[in-house]
């Protein structure tokens, strides 16, 4: 046996997962409250004690951790045109596992500077202009950021012609120059900025947040939790050199405050009648819906569903009562369903969370009639050919109706413009190990892939 410990320091819970990398099996999981205020090791030790109660004493060969504690990795970015470089900056930050506090486009103002100071980002991403293109905005924005009172590092990934000048304007602050996130019009190049962000997260943010005390015990905090999740999904889709993955997929992580969606899929137009518009999206794409969550953002779900009536219809609970229950949950965010009626409400909420988050993540199409006949104009990713949906998050893994909930993320004939998967196998992360497997993937991808394939349970739901 070669036990390895994988730790996820979450904002609320510290989750531990033990695996045996020799037999490629999951040994057990446990969770305890995160103790960032006092000593982060207290929570970890509590969780470990709970784990070892189940598994017996384990002599770990390695311990790896990811973290979204202490607010996670909070970023602000500024770009030029909202749909172009500002969007590229957003994709870069999300893909690096960041929480986005704000995205600015065009020229930053004095008011914006005050807002940035109030938001206190961990990292600022400064972009704008294609290489050889506009320099005025990024230069102005570098000057404005230089007047911020709070201390944060700045990653410069815009028009290369302006990079050095931006650095000079930002003297006294830690700055890093990367390749442009959009070097040519419509060309996304977010990996260099992402690896710089990750390097900064490891070297600087972990320490600033008091997470480094944990590192005596463990081999290090390797990445923000969303990055681990993304890594797990990419490994599951692609497989390793030796073994194939399960192919293109869509993954939904419905949490209490936010819903994260990942797609590992090409998503480009499939026929000659379709014209693609807008910035091409990354093959590994992450979106975060800050207003969609089962408790803290419960009102956002209702709003996105177009009001309580839809929740009422889906749950079978009369509208007025459903509204009262929703209001109650928004106040009592730690409550889990205690009887059948509460379960029905959570079912409706989770279904709407999946539908909304999948709709926002997926691309859309529009019919247009031209002299040459009917054509389709596509923006964003076409996920209709995707055949696998992975689901995780408390409300989806602790219910029997997971497949039924997840089916709301599928293509809806009543809404044919939304390019969601036509039909899909639903795989459930019942043992809640995906982030841990993303961490393990860094060292033993083959083992992580095998454990995921074993532990993700197909849901038998049929339409």
């Amino acid at each position: 046996m070669r036990p390895v410990l994988l730790i996820d320091f979450g904002s609320t819970y510290t989750k531990v997962t033990a695996v045996d990398t020799e037999s490629e099996t999951l040994l057990g999981t446990a969770a305890s409250f995160t103790t960032i205020q006092t000593d982060i090791n207290d929570g970890l030790n509590n969780a470990l004690a709970m784990l070892e109660e189940k598994t017996g004493k384990l002599d770990f060969a390695a311990r790896y951790a990811c973290s979204s504690a202490a607010g996670g990795l909070r970023m602000i970015a500024s770009g030029l045109v909202p749909e172009l470089t500002a969007e590229a900056a957003k994709q870069a930050a999300l893909g690096a596992g960041a929480k986005i506090a704000k995205i600015y486009s065009y020229d930053l103002t004095e008011d914006d500077v005050e807002e940035i100071d109030a938001l206190k980002p961990d990292i600022f991403l400064l972009v704008g202009g294609t290489d050889g293109g506009n320099t005025a905005t990024i230069l102005n924005n570098a000057k404005m950021v230089a007047t911020c009172k709070t201390d944060f590092p700045v990653v410069i990934a815009g028009n290369r012609s302006a990079a050095r000048q931006c650095q000079r304007y930002l003297e006294g602050r830690e700055t890093f120059v990367c390749e442009n996130v959009m070097p040519k019009f419509g060309q996304l190049n977010i990996e260099p900025a992402q690896s710089q962000i990750r390097e900064l997260f490891l070297r600087r943010i972990i320490q600033a947040k008091g997470l480094s005390r944990a590192s005596e015990l463990i081999s290090g905090i390797m990445m923000p939790t969303p990055s681990a999740m993304m890594r797990a999904m990419q490994l599951l889709a692609e497989g390793t050199g030796e073994e194939a993955g399960i192919g293109e997929l869509l993954a939904l992580d419905v949490g209490g405050a936010t819903t994260d969606v990942y797609s590992i899929a090409d998503g480009m137009p499939q026929d000659a009648q379709t014209v693609y518009k807008g910035l091409p999206e990354p093959y590994v794409k992450r979106t975060v819906e800050g207003d969609i969550g089962m408790r803290y953002s419960i009102h956002g779900i209702v709003e996105a569903a177009g009001g309580i009536d839809r929740i009422s219809r889906l749950s079978g609970i009369e509208a007025e009562k459903a509204q009262a229950m929703v209001d109650h949950l928004s106040e009592h965010t730690d409550e889990v369903p205690s009887n059948e009626e509460w379960e029905k409400l959570d079912f409706a909420l989770a279904a709407m969370a999946c539908e909304t988050a999948a709709r926002r993540h997926s691309g859309s199409t529009e019919e247009a009639y031209t002299m040459a006949g009917k054509v389709f104009v596509q923006t964003g990713k076409d996920l209709r050919p995707v055949r696998q949906i992975i689901v995780t998050g408390g409300s989806l893994i602790h219910t029997k109706r997971t497949g039924e909930i997840a089916s709301h993320a599928l293509f809806d004939p009543a809404e044919p413009m939304s390019l969601r998967p036509m039909k899909a196998q639903v795989l459930v992360d019942r043992s809640y190990i995906l982030a841990a497997m993303g961490l393990l993937a860094e060292y033993e991808p083959q083992v992580a892939l095998h454990i995921m394939k074993k532990e993700l349970i197909p849901d038998g739901y049929q339409e």
């Binding site: 030029l80 202009g129 050889g132 293109g133 506009n134 014209v275 518009k277 247009a368 031209t370 002299m371």
Partner: protein, 138 residues
């Protein structure tokens, strides 16, 4: 000297994809840095691309006869977006039917276009005009 930058594309609900490719190659070969937006391009897309790339000119193609409607307000939108004075060209079958092209040209110039080119214009003609207007030595 730095290459002059162009943004090109076919405006409106027009899907004539071949001509714009030919123009892309012709303009690139003539020494311009060309951003080709392809077909079915909206006014906003030309403008957004011109801002990010700091383009010197926007060259609009239209082959399906609806160009006059599609191009209306383009100059005003450029002004609004801070692209004051950017060179604006339009060319192709920009109006319906056999109209006197001098009249057509007048109307497009009144809309703020620097030049308008009629059906059958060779790329070389446009290239020569671009070089002249952008002060590129031949």
């Amino acid at each position: 000297m730095e290459k002059k930058k162009l943004v090109i594309g076919v405006i409106g609900a027009d899907v004539h994809a071949v001509g714009i490719q030919i123009l892309y190659h012709a303009f690139s070969d003539a020494g311009f840095d060309v951003t080709n937006l392809g077909v079915m391009v909206s006014q906003e897309e030309y403008i957004a691309a011109a801002i990010e790339t700091k383009a010197d000119a926007i060259v609009i193609s239209s082959l399906y006869g609806q160009g006059e409607l599609d191009c209306r307000g383009m100059r005003e939108k450029c002004d609004e977006a801070g692209l004051k004075g950017i060179l604006l060209y339009v060319g192709g079958n920009i109006v319906i039917g056999k109209q006197d092209f001098n009249e057509v040209e007048k109307r497009f110039k009144a809309m703020g276009f620097d030049r308008a080119f009629g059906p059958g214009t060779a790329p070389e003609t446009t290239i020569a005009a671009l070089k002249e207007d952008l002060g590129v030595e031949a």
